[in-house]
Symmetry: C2
Subunit: 486 residues, 2 copies
């Protein structure tokens, strides 16, 4: 999977900086490299730019006191933002990357806004995957336990102003910015291997387009922004088997090719077993009810960022998860926000409902009795759900089967199947400037990486907006570093 | 971390098969290679043979109808053994390795017995880490839920007859057998890198002894049996961060060197995030009481193999784990089996005890009330603990803090600190014959691996006896394959 230059008589193409993959990290890297004076070529194996970024909700995790936060009345600081991220992205989040990311977050907000990414200064104030409005700010668990005890809460989910999922808009803006800066791109073009010299420095890559192969010299540096590996079942089996068999969150090109090409020239990887799990759970219903496991017990704070519920459901409960509701909880939520879910079972008592779900006898009754007793007093000593969402549930009770899936608006296909949608978080070991490290911790000359091809801010945890956030931020740093080398 | 032969003018030593690491896998590989007609040299960085194997309890997971099982009155079959292991070592256990391992298990028992490993035909019939007797057979969770529903239970933990921990005896026998077969060894000798030819075939290794380096040609093959990487905090941080900071189960030489040397010549790895967690929990007390988490809830079947409780405690409950007992449960267990544990708190009611432990109000009372009600009827619908261990607990109640550690007999140091003792399960990607595969799935010519340097039978799960078991079994296969190549 690598070649030495003796095998390459002459390069077919030359550029200063070669970027492989045109998602958010690739676009940010290409823009900064071009702005730094480099000639930049981007290759993407898809028919156009965007990658998984363009299919996403578009949230970017930003804080420390952005204009949108201040317009909505929230104080914030880089320190509080970092304290939240260390906990939410842990265990074993990257403290060095988090510190820089938070210190520069207001500046990064302005960079995005200056490129033309619009943010509306209003807040969506309830747990959500993607709010049904164009509010530009949302909570991502900062105001839920246990984070309320670890950092001063402030909402930090920044959403591009778009009718629905903002990822397409974000990518349109970033690609236009890169093009304006002089970046050129070739599509339907897959890099197949890196080309190194005798000392192991990366000189360029070989790529294939419509069956033809050609070589590209990267005079200053090569940036891998090829995405994660959720589309590669062989890599999942080897490194992140818990993610196998679930719906893949990707544009179909997250095949781990950049990770493997870099490994072939000696690159180290980190945290390859980690992943995010979105689940078919309607946050507005979960917050108003109970989320219980196959033993009828609560296991998570229901009003937190739903991705945290997803990780707990997939990794700790094997997706054996139910949402328990009463009629009022169901009817309080506007139909448009229910995403087509219907109760799987309804019963007059918690005992009957538990029997219908196959829970251990009496378990659901015990859970509901305890919850209702505390909710009547406006307190939740078990999971500290916010008082706003605490209300004793009244019969009849209903259960929603999370495995049955939902139908989010603006998406062609339902999230069905296993009830979970996943992507990978692990990848190449990089410095804060995107330099790819080998297994001894030494940078591989000429090679950079960012986005989900790299191990970024994350340990095992995940919060929406940190992929587009660390992809664009560390993509920028990698592009800048690659252009600077001569 | 690798060299090509141009750098090596002439090898300082030559042998047919070079084995790196003299634990159970290395001894088994060396014996079989020598028996197969090869000249065999073993290098170990410690001052003598044994490695982590010699410090272990000595249990070997064997079944399918061994003479010891039959003498104790148990029927067993390779199919039932495989069904248990697929579940207990999963998710994502290696089905192909398990099938072979189980099909050959009676033969492997005889191989061990023929070498001179003694097994006493009597059963220790209670959950235990290491029984306080010389009984040669023990349960390792086969008779606990959910495995009772997945496979016909039979005890398969085979213990060498020894006054205490049998690993030393096992290694003494295996090393003596290897020496009798003509194997030679050099100690205090650390391999530093592999030597490959232009085509990537492994020719040998460079090693260092007392500051001198020398090269060894392996004419037929090189077998890596260097152990896992629990002693390498940098590798843990990158691949298995949940294991950081806990007591390391090793002889101090599980530094991942074999994994890294093989990666440097292109080897692939699997399941690097997985690990086993022993915890400071007295199985005889846990089975007689309740094991609860920081919410006062049970989370595991208390009478199962204690290593399963350990994995659940470390990976799912962050070691926030208590054993709840009454006086009868404590006094039923002979003092010698209590390993010095003392209750951290005693109280007249479950409510008071829960308050002392900082559990949510009423949670422990609810758990204990529910348990006692079911126990009075001899049934446990939540975790299916065997009726033998079900008895309503009576006040006063006591709580043991698992983090406080225990003092097992025959061990110098207490398992204190975090309450957990860990080692790694992931490693090199190998075939059933120990051939190390590169990242394209192609064997690296001349390179073999077994034991914890390789990813063996295991997915994320672990059962005692499967390390010595798959180390010796697949070590044998690797040694045979290496000797056969010419």
């Amino acid at each position: 999977m690598s070649e030495i230059p003796e095998q390459v008589r002459a390069f077919d193409l030359e550029t200063d900086v070669l970027v492989l993959g045109y998602g958010c990290a690739g676009a940010a890297a290409a823009f900064e490299a071009a702005t730094g004076g480099a000639e930049v070529l981007v290759l993407d194996k898809a028919g156009g730019p965007g990658g998984a970024s363009a299919l996403s909700g578009g949230e970017v995790y930003l804080g420390g006191g952005t204009p949108i936060q201040r317009a909505c009345g929230f104080d914030d600081s880089p320190e509080q933002m970092a304290a939240f991220l260390r906990a939410a992205l842990g265990p074993d989040a990257d403290a060095e990357k988090i510190e820089l990311y938070c210190a520069d977050s207001v500046a990064h907000f302005h960079w995005l806004a200056d490129r033309g990414v619009p943010f509306t200064p209003s807040l969506w104030d309830a747990p959500a995957w993607v709010p049904p409005t164009d509010d530009g700010l949302m909570w991502l668990g900062e105001n839920s336990w246990p984070f309320t005890e670890l950092a001063t809460p402030a909402p930090r989910g920044h959403r591009p102003t778009a009718p629905d999922f903002g990822g397409k808009l974000l990518m349109d803006v970033l690609v236009a910015a890169a093009e304006s800066a002089g970046v050129t791109a070739q599509y339907d073009t897959a890099a197949t291997n890196l080309i190194v010299d005798d000392s192991g420095s990366v000189l360029g890559a070989r790529a294939r387009r419509y069956g033809q192969t050609f070589t590209v010299r990267a005079r200053r540096g090569l940036v891998l922004t090829t995405g994660g590996f959720v589309d590669n079942d062989q890599m999942l089996a080897a490194h992140a088997p818990r993610l196998l068999g679930h719906t893949k969150v990707s544009a179909g090109t997250d095949d781990g090719s950049g990770i493997r090409m870099a490994q072939a020239v000696g690159a180290a990887v980190r945290h390859m077993s980690t992943g995010q799990a979105g689940i078919a759970l309607v946050p507005g219903l979960a917050a108003r009810g109970l989320v219980v496991n196959g033993r009828g017990e609560r296991f998570v704070t229901e009003d937190t960022y739903p991705g945290r519920i997803g990780q707990a459901a997939l990794f700790d409960q094997d997706m054996d998860v139910w949402v328990i509701l009463d009629e009022q909880a169901f009817e309080e939520l506007p139909e448009a926000e229910r995403w087509g879910v219907r109760p799987a079972h309804v019963a007059e008592t918690a005992g009957e409902l538990g029997d219908l779900l196959g829970l251990p006898p009496g378990a659901l009754t015990a859970t509901l009795t305890r919850y209702n007793e505390f909710a009547a007093h406006g307190t939740d000593p078990d999971f500290h759900k916010a008082p706003r969402w605490l209300r004793p549930l009244a019969p009849p009770f209903a259960a929603i089967d999370v495995k049955a899936g939902v139908r989010p608006p603006g998406r062609g296909s339902a999230r069905r199947g296993t009830g979970a949608s996943v992507f990978t978080l692990g990848g190449l070991h990089t410095t804060v400037d995107g330099a790819v490290l080998d297994r001894t911790g030494t940078p591989i000359t000429g090679l950079y990486a960012a986005g989900r091809a790299a191990s970024g801010l994350h340990g095992a945890g995940y919060i929406s907006g940190t992929s587009l956030g660390d992809g664009t931020y560390f993509g920028r740093r990698a592009g800048t570093a690659a252009a600077r080398r001569s």
